[in-house]
Symmetry: C2
Amino acid sequence: MKKPNIVILGAGYGGLTTTVKLQKKLGVNDANITLVNKHDYHYEATWLHEVAAGTIAPDRARFAIKDVIDGSKVNFVQDTVTSIDVENKKVVLEDGELDYDYLVVALGFEAATFGIPGLLENAFMIGNINSSRMLREHIDYHFAKYNNEIEKKQERLNIIVGGGGFTGIEYLGELTNRVTKLCEEYDIDRNQVRIINVEGAPSIMPGFDPQLVEYAMNTLEERGVEFKLGSMLKECRPDGITIEKDGEQEDIPSLTTVWAAGVRANSLVEKSLETNRGKVEVTPELRDPANENVFVIGDCALIMDKETGRPYPPTAQIAMQEAEVCAHNLATIVKGGSGELEHFEFNNLGTVASLGHSDAFGVVFGNKKIFGWTASVMKKVIDNRSLLKIGGLGLMLKKGKFNIFG
Amino acid sequence: MKKPNIVILGAGYGGLTTTVKLQKKLGVNDANITLVNKHDYHYEATWLHEVAAGTIAPDRARFAIKDVIDGSKVNFVQDTVTSIDVENKKVVLEDGELDYDYLVVALGFEAATFGIPGLLENAFMIGNINSSRMLREHIDYHFAKYNNEIEKKQERLNIIVGGGGFTGIEYLGELTNRVTKLCEEYDIDRNQVRIINVEGAPSIMPGFDPQLVEYAMNTLEERGVEFKLGSMLKECRPDGITIEKDGEQEDIPSLTTVWAAGVRANSLVEKSLETNRGKVEVTPELRDPANENVFVIGDCALIMDKETGRPYPPTAQIAMQEAEVCAHNLATIVKGGSGELEHFEFNNLGTVASLGHSDAFGVVFGNKKIFGWTASVMKKVIDNRSLLKIGGLGLMLKKGKFNIFG
């Protein structure tokens, strides 16, 4: 009997967790497992704001995929997916094709720019390791230039962060730490630097507990962040932006605009499968309703939260929980026994947003609000937990965050 | 009786050593001592190639002037000298004027570009802390850009170093170490990076021991440096250079040209005093022959080496030895006793050039050739020695180089 081909697309939180769980559940004779990823490394997407601010080295936030997969059971292909052909059960890559019997689509997110003029061309995104370290270098570079030029250009020191959601706020937390260091290094008065957050909603972190939102805003304002709330970004140019509030427009000169206000599912999903808001509205077993041998997880999957009536947000926590269900269901099907398929149920372990190295805020254990140093320790525990789940104790000890007193 | 005003211009090796020696030799009632410097810090000019390569942090290579001067005896003025008026015994600063009875001119060096078109505008110089860290950031930035662009631009990875003298070779030593790290960090194949040294003479380090020159060249070639010897830089553009060898021209695309091929005395000296090759040909007591109350030391002074019939090179070692003579002579004059003025005699303690962190080559103890790790330890000893002489044990322990096994 021919072994079935299981192909997993993407080695983010969802795809890589599925792979490591599957390699434990299946023997070498049960299936051919192939993992496809653009890079030969996995990166911690939830740590990218730190890379982008320059508060951790890029290599801290990634590890080699070969270090966590079992080469005797999993075949790794480093390539970029160009299309999925569900009719012929084929994945087309830049440098080849793969046939599958079962497919796991875990291709993650990309930036959504909502058609705002100039944004795609001129703004920096915190989307992957490469774009994040480019942003870090860009800011360093303009501080160096500012320091070295006789005629000072204020736009080198003005940094715009578009979006007051999770990524934007965590990035501001790191950036305020980093800018203080940069000012010391380049002999620049800290008051010369403007860090401006532009958010369309009337508050940052919409939907988050109001008391914690106030804590975050006060903390960041104390560190010099200017908030432009209820303000829409109208245009992004290489040397500045235009925002609009209550019908009035304002131009702000800046050589650094960071866009952290929107993500969408990888656009490949929309091109290959039937979607709702760009995502596949999966069955409780996490299958594509139109193709029962295709599983979709992570940021590419749409699952409704019955309590709120809105889709679950695209988070690492959810992607990893989906991966466990997906791996269980795939293993059950491949083994062909009498095992039952699981339905996905979200188990909310809490949400903590960091505000730089030693500060954070969030909700854990159902409804307990935490902030300050306690929350920052909890945030590090959460970050380490995902390393532990994917790569075991060895990976956690190698890449984990243990400097809680730093 | 009015206390004489001693004004010292420049807090480099010469000026700062003169100041700390004078404050030991003179009491508060002997003279008013004023030290003028552009920055509020002294930097280790002989370490700048490390800052420029990014192998040490800029703050490692500088320290606050207030940390080594005695505020009860020395008045520090942070300002830039615009001219010296020897007739009226006045120094004009950007923000004021100073009257002097005795003047020490220790204004250091600036880059000499020999009128090569585009060099001043487009090349990077390893001249001070600011320009050195700008160069470091510039290289980092283009590695990040290269990594992040779909269409790869080779000129981002081509680095030209003009000049195969002391600074150029030491910079190449650091740069080859640094580039290896950058390639790892930005996932760039090391073979993609070209580091090209352009030297007009038929050999690097002209005048240095041929065996050691060969050692240096082999070492750097093994690390991937291409040498273009007997080649003249004809033009420097923002995106490349033109060199000429044996009448044939070659264009090399590059966004980074470093000019390490020529220094001259601060051009202020030529404007204010009588000079030979831009420097003041001082008396054996280190005085300006035309103004006996003006001392000139360091890179602004011209002293002939009787053995070779050529001027001594502008080095930190010579500047610090001159400073000791200058301080002795000034103290003797001010005290008005029967003390004798000293004549400057160069005591050659040897010369060691570094080739990155754990390699170096040079001549010490008169004629002993050293290279490799031994030489690199000796180089660190030399670097620490200058800290010890200027700032004592405390400064050496704080800023010294002790990681000899690194």
